[in-house]
């Protein structure tokens, strides 16, 4: 049981390269900003599992951007409405609408379309920004954080102690 838990924790906290963390956060952003039960999120989940990204960061990104999505819903609706009503795309959308499988994606929902387009558009810029931020954080801020009382309380706690031991166990 402990071994399984250790393996899970290890899996979650592996892949700690800045690129892996920022990619995970961006995938979490796509899943968080779009309605969770949309079919395209299965592809996002697949990518998050198959590509070596940090799963904790993915889940953190999912949670964070789900909260952000609630505030941005009206903007996503307006964007989605505009895209779906674009004359140039009507023929494509009509074909998609008459396809049973593509209809399952709910592409004709204004929030699904708006949030997906927004998150896809923001994916690369966000990945680059997050990459830079993570590197800067590690360079300038991490040492300071480790010295704070809160960090010392966490690292001095029994839970952290057990985690450390299990991580070592997992490595074996």
């Amino acid at each position: 049981m402990l071994r399984m838990l250790a393996k899970l924790l290890k899996a979650l906290n592996s892949e700690t390269e800045p690129g892996q963390i920022s990619l995970a956060l961006c995938l979490g952003m796509v899943a968080g900003l779009t309605p969770l039960m949309s079919p395209h999120n299965l592809i996002v989940l697949l990518l998050a599992l198959v590509i070596r990204v940090n799963l904790s960061a993915f889940m953190l990104g999912l949670a964070f951007f789900s909260g952000v999505a609630y505030m941005l819903d009206p903007a996503f609706h307006a964007m989605g409405l505009r895209i779906l009503r674009a004359g140039a795309l009507e023929a494509i959308f009509t074909d998609m609408y008459n396809n049973p499988f593509l209809r399952l994606t709910r592409f004709n929902n204004t929030i699904v379309m708006g949030s997906l387009m927004a998150s896809v558009a923001a994916f690369i810029p966000m990945a680059m920004i997050l990459n830079i931020l993570i590197r800067r954080y590690r360079q300038h801020v991490l040492a300071w954080v480790q010295k704070t009382r809160l960090a010392q309380m966490i690292t001095g706690s029994k839970l952290y102690d057990i985690y450390q031991k299990i991580s070592l166990l997992g490595d074996r």
């Binding site: 599992l49 070596r52 819903d73 609706h77 008459n98 204004t110």
Partner: protein
């Protein structure tokens, strides 16, 4: 850099998807059950419960067991209950959001069954519950056919007799005062005696010398003039008094004849008329019929939205977190919901009623076919035959045309209460009824519904708890009736309709009550006459007595005037009975000539 692909993640994904699919398969039935209950409850405004839902994927189909649909107007009663409803769906169209069903089979449908728990939902809007119409079981009352108390009537009403009597008394008093003053200014008995005295003196003078005779003639002329003046004055006064007397007599006559007018007026106002029986059938049956009609309308209003397609509006209104679903042109147009045939078997306490509902769809404009239904039964326990047919034509949403026709033959009625009023309780103990209903609903909610109910072999029980002979007569008439028919007509709109009810029962009651009405009318008139006489006799009799004073004055003036006439005549005859003035003058001249 490490490898970017994590193959164990793929296994994890497959495991997660597998677990999800398994979970869905295990809970699909519950999810469908919950979805139907949720959507149905929201649409109806009252609980929709399902015992079990069984979804099959190959082929795609659904079987619902133990469906209970609450009556929104009566939360402890089910509008309908179904043992089993089963159907297959077009699996290809389902992915496109279209529920297309070839045939639905509904078995064990029951109407109006009792619920174990209340089906009311917590958030019921305040006034939007059209099912809370007057209950069809409510009975109406018949009353208002009793005569009010005479003293009560006379206490409430002003009698013209008394008003006229009072006016006459006032006039008589005024005139008496006037004539008392005026009589004093008129020549009286003293004046007449004076004239008589002068006349006698003149008569004596005529026995004297010629010059005395001449002087007497002159005096006679003067007397004549005075008598004439006095006589004319008296005559004028007499004429005025006569006129006043006539006026006062006329006023008194009006007062004396007023009681009859009062009796007529009050009799017309308070006597029971046959008008009260003009619409007895409406009183007895109106509320019940109104209840059925209101209930039918409220059910129709609930079902109407289901037949209207949810076409996109120009600006879809987004729901927070859910957005709006836009539609695009469909290559193969189909309504969102379309059931070609729904076969149903309705179990009633008297037996089964079977039928079918065809072409029920959410967009008849696309299918091009109106929904039709037909239910019938022969061999129900207390009904010889029953047939219900109809059409719901909403192909043009702005101008729907709906039709309902019901034909019930040989329906046995037992212990049906028509009125539970104390004034008149009426119930049909046993009867056979035939009912025909034809109803149309056209554009803008205009309703035209007609019904005819024929009751035969009826055993009607009618009784009154009051001491009212009229009610007893009506009750006896109703009890003796063994057949009658009722016609109902509703026109107007769904929200504001006029219901008119007529029946040959009304004619029978009027005819039967005719004699009773006449007798009651006579009794009422007699009592009214006695009461009015009692209140007015004393006053009226004193009026005639009050006029006596003036009557005496009239007689007195008349007598005096006659006396003056006689005196005048005598005065005029003085010259005639004696020699004329010229003859006297001639005689005097001759006498003087002789002397000279």
């Amino acid at each position: 850099m490490k490898k970017w692909v994590r193959w164990e993640g793929l296994i994890a994904f497959v495991v997660i998807m597998g677990a999800g699919a398994a979970l869905w398969l295990l809970t699909a039935d519950r999810l469908v059950e919950h979805a139907i209950e949720s959507v149905g409850t929201t649409a109806l405004g009252a609980r929709v419960d399902i015992k079990e839902a069984d979804l099959t994927l190959m082929p795609l189909g659904l079987t619902i067991t133990g469906l209970e649909v609450t009556d929104p107007g009566e939360p402890m009663t089910n509008l309908m209950e179904a043992e089993r409803i089963a159907f297959l769906m077009d699996s290809g169209r389902i992915l496109l959001g279209k529920v297309l069903i070839n045939e639905i089979s509904a078995e064990g449908i029951r109407l109006g069954t009792k619920r174990r728990t209340s089906g009311a939902i917590a958030t019921e809007p305040e006034d939007k519950n059209p099912m809370q119409s007057p209950s069809a079981d409510e009975t109406s009352g018949v009353g208002g056919l009793s005569v009010p108390d005479i003293d009560e009537i006379l206490g409430r009403e002003e009698l013209d007799t008394l008003k006229l009597a009072e006016a006459a008394e006032t006039d008589i008093k005024q005139k008496e005062t006037h004539w008392d003053a005026r009589i004093k200014t008129l020549p009286d008995g003293g004046t007449i005696r004076e004239f008589e005295s002068r006349y006698k003196k003149i008569e004596k003078r005529f026995k004297g010398s010629t010059s005395e005779k001449l002087a007497a003639i002159k005096e006679a002329e003067g007397l004549k003039k005075d008598i004439k003046t006095a006589r004319d004055t008296l005559k004028a006064a007499s004429a005025d008094l006569e006129a006043d007397y006539k006026t006062l007599s006329s006023g008194i006559n009006m007062a004396i004849t007023a009681p009859e007018r009062d009796i007529r007026r009050l009799k017309d106002k308070y006597q029971i008329s046959s008008k009260g029986l003009d619409n007895a059938s409406a009183l007895l049956l109106g509320q019940r019929i109104n209840g059925y009609l209101a209930r039918a309308i409220s059910i129709y209003e609930r079902l109407k939205p289901l037949m209207q397609s949810g076409r996109d509006e120009d600006e879809p209104t987004p729901e927070r977190g859910k957005g709006a679903d836009l539609t695009f042109r469909e290559y193969h147009l189909a309504p969102t919901f379309w059931a070609r045939t729904i076969r149903a078997s309705v179990q009633t306490s008297q037996g089964p009623i079977e039928g079918a509902l065809n072409e029920l769809s959410s967009d008849q404009g696309i299918t091009g076919m109106p929904a039709t239904f037909e239910f019938s039964s022969r061999g129900l326990k207390k009904t010889r035959s029953l047939r219900i047919t109809g059409t719901l034509d909403h192909r043009t949403p702005e101008a729907p045309e709906d039709r309902l026709d019901i034909s019930i033959e040989g329906r046995r009625l037992e212990n049906m209460i028509l009125s539970d009023s104390e004034d008149l309780a009426v119930s049909i103990k046993d009867a056979m009824a035939d009912l025909t209903v034809n109803a149309r609903l056209v554009r803008r909610g205009a309703i035209d519904a007609r019904a005819r109910l024929a009751i035969g072999s009826a055993d009607i029980e009618a009784s009154t708890a009051t001491d009212n002979a009229m009610m007893e007569a009506i009750g006896a008439t109703l009890s003796s009736m063994d057949e009658f028919s009722v016609r109902m007509k509703a026109t107007g709109t769904i929200d504001d309709y006029d219901l008119s009810i007529s029946s040959d029962m009304d004619n029978a009651l009027r005819a039967a009550a005719k004699d009773m009405l006449r007798q009651e009318g006579e009794k009422f008139e007699d009592r009214l006459r006695a009461a009015i006489k009692d209140r007015t006799d004393k006053r009226l009799s004193s009026l005639t007595a009050k006029l006596k004073g003036l009557d005496d004055q009239r007689a007195s003036l008349g007598g005096q005037s006659d006396q003056l006439d006689t005196l005048l005549k005598n005065a005029s005859n003085i010259k005639a009975s004696h020699q004329t003035e010229d003859k006297l003058k001639k005689k005097l001249n001759n006498t003087l000539k002789k002397l000279l």
